[in-house]
Symmetry: C2
Subunit: 294 residues, 2 copies
């Protein structure tokens, strides 16, 4: 369903965490014309200054003020900080205020929300905009970051249909295609297609750096290596939190991956030409069907 | 040193294997104006027809004819087929004829050359143009494929300085930056920065495909996953041969990588936040210094 948001419909929106996602959201909301004003909350003065200067936010406030004044609060902080944000917000959360988030993991954020918000958890509609990438910080923000990208919404059984529609319309207004799946599905899928590749890319960089002739190796990297490791430039803090937040699903994917890599190692050690070709053919056929970019 | 090749200096050049690399080389040689004619040898009629049609080669011949008629023979076949090519060529190899290649591994190709060519191995100057990528076949060929890219030359102790210069000038004429390193160094470096990433990308595709909900996972892949797995679209046959041809160095890199991945798994299992952040910071700092593209 596509909801058409009305002018200023979402009133005062607080963005908590004005990094790449938060600042881009501020720009996009203003461009869409569906908000009256955007409050910014953050730890980094540099990001807050940048967000103010680019017009992504109108005013800097603390989290308590944001909780009191806002119609919609969007938590764009690293997932490990969500619980602390819920704790600060909860006493000031008015019944009319809606909460959503941009966390890359959903099970852990929802658990924290249920534990901290209690009955008020019905006001929280969890979301995950699939945007961002290797760059981070408000300076990389752009109004079209969510345009044409998926935003996953993982509705809670406590949410009313009306509130889910409201948050769906909110993300659609910034250009996202909204898809609703369960938090468990979300976490399993993104462990496989996002979290695991990041871990593999980080590990490759460390593997090359740790080798005796690491410096020389880095001088010989080509386009393939750069494509492969691009995601290893991502925020270490964010990915630390994702690893811990989605630990169970990630360990499962990692174990499955390591078993396959071990099998591949055996094929090479055994000089098993037909086994190698069979495995590579399966992989390359699947990759070819994916296309090149989004 | 930059050698300036003279017009038609390299006379008749035979390209053995007219896939992406071979057909691009034909186009580039002609554009550089340093050859009189280009002979094409290949197994695939489609590639030969395509190469003729695009003007990458002037005539299709068999390998024996190529050996007899050429001033320079360039082997652009998968590395596992190099030995068979040397065996066919050897009896017809004139003293004036130079051999070079485009193989992604060097130790195994050099071993085959020494065993098959005997004293004539002095006529073989091994090379590895760092070009290509996920696409393959003559249809993907372009004259500027080597432009501004590195070509590694691994001179043999049997090569004369003059012959090394000649082959260096040949690759420079198609736009490559030539770098000379030993075959052992070459194979260790490319095991780390090229061969290993390919294996990791192939394995990720297989891991996702093998999982119960693989289809659904593939529907959620984003730009990061696509960047990461782009190289998994590469030719299965070529990569099978590279795995076997550079087996020792690849197994060493793979073991080192698997140890690091195992360490990362432990950090996650132990909820070791500071250990994770330290590792990711090291990786992302190194990745940031590499830049985005070539």
């Amino acid at each position: 369903m596509t909801n058409i948001a009305a002018k200023n419909q979402y009133g005062t929106v607080a963005i908590v965490g004005v990094g790449l996602i938060g600042a881009s959201l501020g720009l996009a909301l203003k461009q869409a014309g569906i908000v009256q004003r955007v409050l910014g909350v953050g730890r980094s003065q540099a990001n807050l200054d940048q967000a103010l200067q680019m017009g992504a936010i109108d005013q800097v406030v603390d989290l308590i003020e944001a909780a009191k004044q806002s119609d919609v609060i969007v938590l764009c902080v690293p997932v490990a900080q969500m619980r602390a944000a819920f704790i600060t917000i909860e006493p000031y959360l008015e019944p009319k205020t809606m909460l959503t988030d941009a966390g890359s993991t959903k099970g852990d954020v929802i658990l924290a929300a249920k534990e901290v918000l209690g009955k008020k958890v019905c006001q929280f509609v969890p979301a995950h905009p699939i945007a961002g990438g290797a760059q981070h910080g408000a300076s990389a923000a752009r109004a079209d970051l969510f345009q044409g990208k998926q935003t996953i919404i993982c509705p809670l059984q406590e949410n009313s249909a009306q509130d889910i529609d409201l948050i769906e319309g909110f993300w659609q207004a910034v250009g996202a295609h909204v898809k609703k799946i369960s938090a468990v599905q979300h976490d399993a899928i993104y462990a496989a297609v996002s979290h695991l590749p990041h871990l593999l890319a980080y590990s490759l960089m460390v593997s090359v750096l740790n080798s005796e002739d690491g410096e020389q190796k880095l001088q010989h990297v080509g386009a393939g290596f750069k494509d492969f490791t691009r995601i290893a430039a991502s925020s270490p803090e964010m990915w630390r939190d994702i690893c811990l937040g989605n630990r169970t699903a990630i360990l499962q994917e990692l174990d499955q991956y390591m078993a396959i890599l071990g099998h591949l190692r055996q094929l090479i050690a055994d000089n098993n030409a037909s086994g190698l070709e069979k495995m590579f053919t399966k992989a390359s056929q699947a990759r070819n069907t994916l296309g090149s970019k989004e």
